[in-house]
Point group: C2
Chain length 285, copies 2
């Protein structure tokens, strides 16, 4: 099955893009954590979302989610770990499945976390973003698990149930994962190193030998997600139609740069969806 | 008094820009017809304004207007007829007054009406957009009045009370203006012609001698409003920050081009306001 479009991200930009693709009767998939976005939900008071004066982030988030639901659209919760350019179409890996689409709309927000040294270099050669997808490769082996969010603790537990030994690096307080084969390391590795494949984690004060590293965070930097995508200072470069440098790939919202504003995000989600639909019309077979 | 910014237009882009300038505590004026926009109000059902599912144009318009009111901001209803670049600041003529501002945010929507032949050439030399401003110049004289909207009938009546003879060209049905010195001409002139000043209106089937022509419509084409503004196919050319080619002049909403969408307009209004504030910070004296 070849989809018209795949939207990645459920923040305001993703919701806006999804509403428009639905209205324009396109065959699309929508991936994201679901409840709009954590960043929106954390907002105490939003005064400048036109038409909804003085609302909380939770209220805006809920208004966006219920708007989408009212039109019968709900996101899939698998995390997208890679997008491959197949020439004229794209393959999107999410969880253990791969989906093909003519267009991609990236609404991935901003990743404040910088990639870890070696992360990009060893991706697919010992670095993985997905426990469900690649966990079985490390049965009985030694792995590092860098955990950015409580939401991924069950993935860390799953990995611990397979691996021989786990170095667990939680990047937040109050991590609840424990198992006899887990050694908690309360710091970030400086670098992931190795030869053809990952061999070790280098810390400021020493090293740990590992066969693989799982980096579990909700957003992957866009240039890692999709090779060849033009970025500038961590933002995806787009034109006024929200087109990226890759044909058929569009981006909207915070991932395209400042100002980080809900109104800007919904505007760009709308523009990106219309640009994708224009692209589909131009490339009809 | 030198304002930080003047916003022109009360559609979704103008409302969004105004909300942000208010929050950012800028000293600004806001001009427009008031009730959001006629175009918004005419929309039967809007399904893709994120967060407000299935609303009518009247409801969206009222939500936008009341959002602005709740923050203590209301537009002035004078029609802006000209903007002059004074080098580092701009003079805005609205009604009979002139206001100066460091920045301008154009949210003027799209004008479907093409300029009339000679309109731009004779502007200020017999062509006027404002009865209140220039009517007294034509006491006892012969003028043409091209009327695009019922809202301007009182201006046409005012002109008839001053002029010796009026050729009235209403561009809509059911025009209610009448006076002994009015001759209704039910067609559009092909051209406004003259030498140093306007001398006649040329129709497909003949001419009428006039001393001046009043063109009464709610929106003036942006390139006529502000000389030197870069436009393309009737749209104002802007970059990703909604900056035009003129320093300190920004544009947002339908006037910057397709898609003509409410979400895009509020997004651009937000971006333009932030870009104007950045510009003010960079040009602080």
């Amino acid at each position: 099955m070849l989809y018209d479009s795949i939207i990645i991200g459920t923040g305001p930009a993703g919701v806006s893009a999804a509403l428009n693709l639905k209205i324009l009767d396109k065959n699309f998939l929508w991936f994201g954590s679901g409840a709009s976005s954590k960043k929106v939900e954390a907002a105490e008071l939003i005064r400048n979302y036109p038409g909804l004066p003085d609302i909380s982030g939770v209220e805006l988030s809920s208004a966006l989610v219920s708007h989408a639901k009212s039109m019968g659209i709900e996101p899939r919760h698998e995390i997208v770990t890679a997008i491959y350019d197949l020439g004229g179409r794209y393959a999107v890996t999410a969880g253990t499945d791969t989906f093909e689409s003519k267009t991609i709309i990236l609404c991935t927000g901003v990743t404040t976390a910088k990639p870890i040294g070696g992360e990009e270099q060893f991706l697919g050669r010992g670095v993985s973003y997905c426990a469900t997808c690649d966990g079985f490769l490390y049965k009985g082996k030694t792995i590092g698990v860098i955990l950015f969010d409580k939401a991924f603790e069950h993935e860390a537990e799953y990995l611990a149930s397979l691996a021989g030994k786990v170095y667990l690096m939680p990047m937040y307080k109050g991590c609840g994962v424990s198992s006899e084969n887990i050694e908690v390391v309360m710091k970030m590795p400086k670098e992931i190193a190795g030869g053809m494949k990952v061999q070790k984690l280098i810390f400021a004060d020493g090293e740990r030998e590992v066969d693989g590293v799982f980096i579990l965070r909700s957003s992957v930097s866009p240039s890692i997600l999709l090779r060849g995508l033009n970025t500038d200072g961590g933002h995806i470069v787009v034109d006024r139609q929200c087109r990226t440098n890759l044909a058929g790939v569009f981006a909207a919202g915070d991932c395209t740069g400042r100002p980080y504003q809900y109104a800007k995000s919904v505007g760009e989600g709308n523009v990106a969806a219309h640009a994708a639909v224009d692209y589909l019309a131009e490339h009809r077979e």
